[in-house]
């Protein structure tokens, strides 16, 4: 068994080396295809992570009428704190709001100092659990509370969470679509490269048949060849992806301004990296197996 495996690996290695130019070409194509998939995957990763971050920090602010009596404010506070998805409720007084503004915008300190009266209304801030942040239940609750007496306005960033999640899905879909087309291209390229290799080794295959080689014995080196090409291509694409992720912020990041946060790439996690590698191996195997079964009549 070990002898045979060694023999197959030896034959595969020799064959890969013998037709190195065309094999290098197919590895390059596979690499570029999987790099495209990887880039969109890491972009989608970032958008998904941003959406998660936004939803985990989601705070809904209910701005109240300045003339709302303390009892009314208290009743509203209790009511807002009741639903299960609420993590915490906090009353922000006009004084606190002004102080936050002063801390957040120190460059506007002159304007704040020149104010005759405090323009900030009192508010109730509600933190929503990350799980429920994008749910319709929260939106319905906010909508209902907005109509309550004493509530003048609401600051609710659920739209952003939904948009981020939407972008993330879009990036994933674009990646899958483009990657799918390119992987299909790789598949045909591998298939053709293996076909050429089958033709180039026609004499050798015939000899193997005459000396009693089984179909499997003849096919295995071609399969291994396809798998190796696919694996090498996807491994190379992972390497390139890490380089792109590292170089992108240096060369392009600063010119993107506010978009930088959204167009940031995140490293693929272990599962994704393994999936890319296995995808490469599978593309290689299917490509070569198709070709071998079609053109190798043994």
């Amino acid at each position: 068994m070990f002898e045979k495996l060694k023999f197959f690996l030896n034959v595969t290695g020799n064959n890969l080396w013998q037709f190195r130019t065309r094999n290098l070409f197919s590895v390059t194509i596979i690499c570029l295809s999987f790099l495209t998939v990887g880039i969109f995957m890491s972009l989608a990763n970032n958008l998904r992570a941003t959406a998660k971050e936004l939803s985990s920090n989601m705070t809904i602010a209910f701005y109240l009428d300045k003339g709302l009596p303390a009892a009314g404010l208290d009743a509203l506070r209790r009511e807002i704190g009741q639903p299960g998805f609420v993590e915490s409720v906090r009353v922000v007084t006009p004084g606190e709001a002004l102080e936050r503004f002063r801390v957040s915008f120190p460059e506007l300190a002159d304007i704040v100092a020149g104010l005759q009266t405090n323009p900030f209304p009192p508010a109730i801030e509600m933190r929503v659990s990350a799980k429920a942040s994008a749910s319709k239940e929260v939106a319905a609750f906010v909508e209902a509370t907005k109509r309550r007496t004493g509530v003048t306005d609401v600051l609710f960033n659920q739209d952003w969470v939904e948009k981020m999640q939407g972008f993330s899905r879009l990036a994933g879909a674009v990646g899958a679509f483009l990657g799918g087309i390119l992987i299909l291209t790789s598949f045909f390229i591998i298939s053709n490269v293996v076909k050429l290799n089958v033709f180039a080794r026609k004499n050798e295959i015939e000899i193997l048949r005459f000396v009693g080689g089984t179909n499997l014995f003849i096919r295995i080196p071609f399969w291994l060849e396809g798998i190796t090409l696919g694996l090498l291509g996807s491994l190379l694409s992972l390497g390139l992806l890490f380089i792109v992720i590292n170089l992108f912020p240096i060369y392009l990041g600063s010119s993107l301004g506010a978009l930088q946060q959204l167009l940031k790439f995140r490293y693929p996690d272990l599962n994704q990296a393994v999936a890319l590698l296995l995808g490469g191996a599978a593309t290689g195997f299917i490509g070569s197996a198709t070709s071998v079964s079609k053109f190798l009549k043994v």
């Binding site: 045979k4 023999f7 000899i207 048949r209 000396v211 089984t214």
Partner: protein, 221 residues
């Protein structure tokens, strides 16, 4: 034992490459199949190692109808045979050793055993000193000896050789057939397709004469 019963083969209408060939080759026979070009020698040999199917007829090898063996199991038949071609069919990018080792690698023989058997076989054909050479650097006679070594390395029951001396000068041809004779003495059944009358006259124990696909004569000495 090889038995051919009423073998007919047609590639293209209305010509018959083989017409009603019935033949029995016993174990240990040294058999020549001869006839002019196009007489059906190659077709007959190809049907025996099931490279082609006859249009009609039955071929039994050791009692097994080889026409009923599934394609995926044809290797079981081929492992009992050593096949030698006129054009040698060597792998020119591999060494003499690698070429001869192939039938052993196919059946999963261990590396040490392969080395031993390949060396012994190359010694028999007097090529052991060129074991690591590429076949392209050898003479035609030496290349054919490599092909013979490959055919006999796993001690097959039958050796089938299709015009094995066709590319060689008379002296080398004589040497190659002597080699087959040696192999035959060690127990293998040898069937050679050849149109070289001189060789046949000298070595032929059993001779089958073919013409236009028909058996026109048999001789046994």
């Amino acid at each position: 034992m090889i038995e051919l019963h009423h073998i007919w083969k047609q590639y293209q209408k209305p010509y018959w490459a083989l017409s009603d060939v019935t033949l029995q080759i016993n174990d240990g026979d040294f058999y020549f199949i001869t006839g002019p070009s196009g007489s059906g020698k190659t077709t007959l040999l190809k049907t025996i190692f099931r490279e082609i199917f006859p249009t009609e007829g039955q071929i039994l090898i050791n009692g097994v109808n080889i026409l009923k063996i599934r394609d995926s199991r044809i290797y079981t038949l081929r492992r009992t045979m050593g096949i030698v071609f006129q054009d040698f069919r060597l792998m020119f990018h591999k060494t003499v050793f690698d070429n001869v080792a192939v039938p052993l690698q196919v059946i999963g023989v261990g590396r040490k055993e392969i080395r031993r058997r390949v060396f012994n076989t190359l010694q028999k054909v007097n090529l052991h000193q060129k074991m690591w050479e590429l076949p392209g650097r050898l003479s035609y006679g030496e290349q054919q000896r490599v092909a013979i070594a490959r055919a006999v390395v796993n001690n097959p029951e039958f050796i089938l050789a299709d015009e094995p001396t066709g590319n060689l000068d008379p002296e080398l041809a004589f040497e190659i057939v002597s080699l087959f004779k040696e192999i035959n003495k060690q127990g293998a059944t040898v069937i050679i397709g050849s149109h070289d009358r001189e060789l046949i006259r000298h070595f032929g124990d059993n001779i089958l004469f073919l013409q236009k696909g028909k058996i026109v004569g048999k001789e046994a000495h």
